[in-house]
Symmetry: C2
Subunit: 134 residues, 2 copies
């Protein structure tokens, strides 16, 4: 199988309807939270936690106008995307599309990631993945 060395795992995204409660539970499970931020593009509250193995979790609470509120209502809280760092989202897009991924959020500046570009893709075999350009 091919292995594209340019993809570097970045974080797990976890949906929640109660960010403080989720922080409390993940803290009990070994994660330390030190960054809370509101993303006005996706209209979500975010909180970032890390454990002693440097595994990063992004808690995502959609506000009432967020496009992913429907996903929370449908699926409930829990892990829902994997994010990978890449050197260029634009370079990855044609290959991902050939692989059957659909772009569900076009490259967008993300305040939570120092205004770097993020993009979301969906596939039937993996669900949602996020790319973060660095």
């Amino acid at each position: 199988m091919t292995n594209d060395q340019d993809y570097k795992f970045h974080h797990i995204g976890v949906l929640t309807n109660n960010i403080e409660q989720s922080k409390k539970e993940l803290s009990n499970l070994g994660f330390y939270f030190n960054k809370d931020i509101f993303d006005p593009v996706q209209e979500v509250d975010l909180s970032f936690g890390v454990n002693d193995k440097n595994l990063l979790i992004e808690l995502v609470k959609p506000t009432k106008n967020s496009k992913i509120l429907g996903l929370l209502k449908k699926n409930g809280a829990g892990p829902y995307h994997l994010c990978f760092e890449v050197s260029s989202i634009q370079e990855k897009e044609p290959d991902l599309k050939k692989r059957g991924f659909i772009c569900v959020l076009k490259p967008t500046r993300a305040i939570a990631f120092d205004n770097n570009l993020i993009s979301f893709f969906f596939s039937k075999s993996l669900g949602l993945i996020e790319l973060l350009e660095k």
Copy 2:
């Protein structure tokens, strides 16, 4: 917030309806798969992959009799549980229940984990978590 040092992050569980396709996509994203196994208790095909940061992913494909086939049909493919290693599931259970977790799979020997005990819990703020006793 409390932090129980006994919980050690173990893996991310990813649901799929096509394990070979999911392996292919995750391989492209930096994971190496080297263990396939059928779990007759949960009636699921499993495949384990790891990346260069030692992050472990468990692909889970429910067979037609599996209790989690409904979850796949409802939510589609994608990450759906976080697993934590603990020294004793029995010792954790009362605290998790106090925290609002419901046990959805009682401690069960898991062939994929050297016949060690696993158990699943559900909470409204985190979704599903798995405990693995080692």
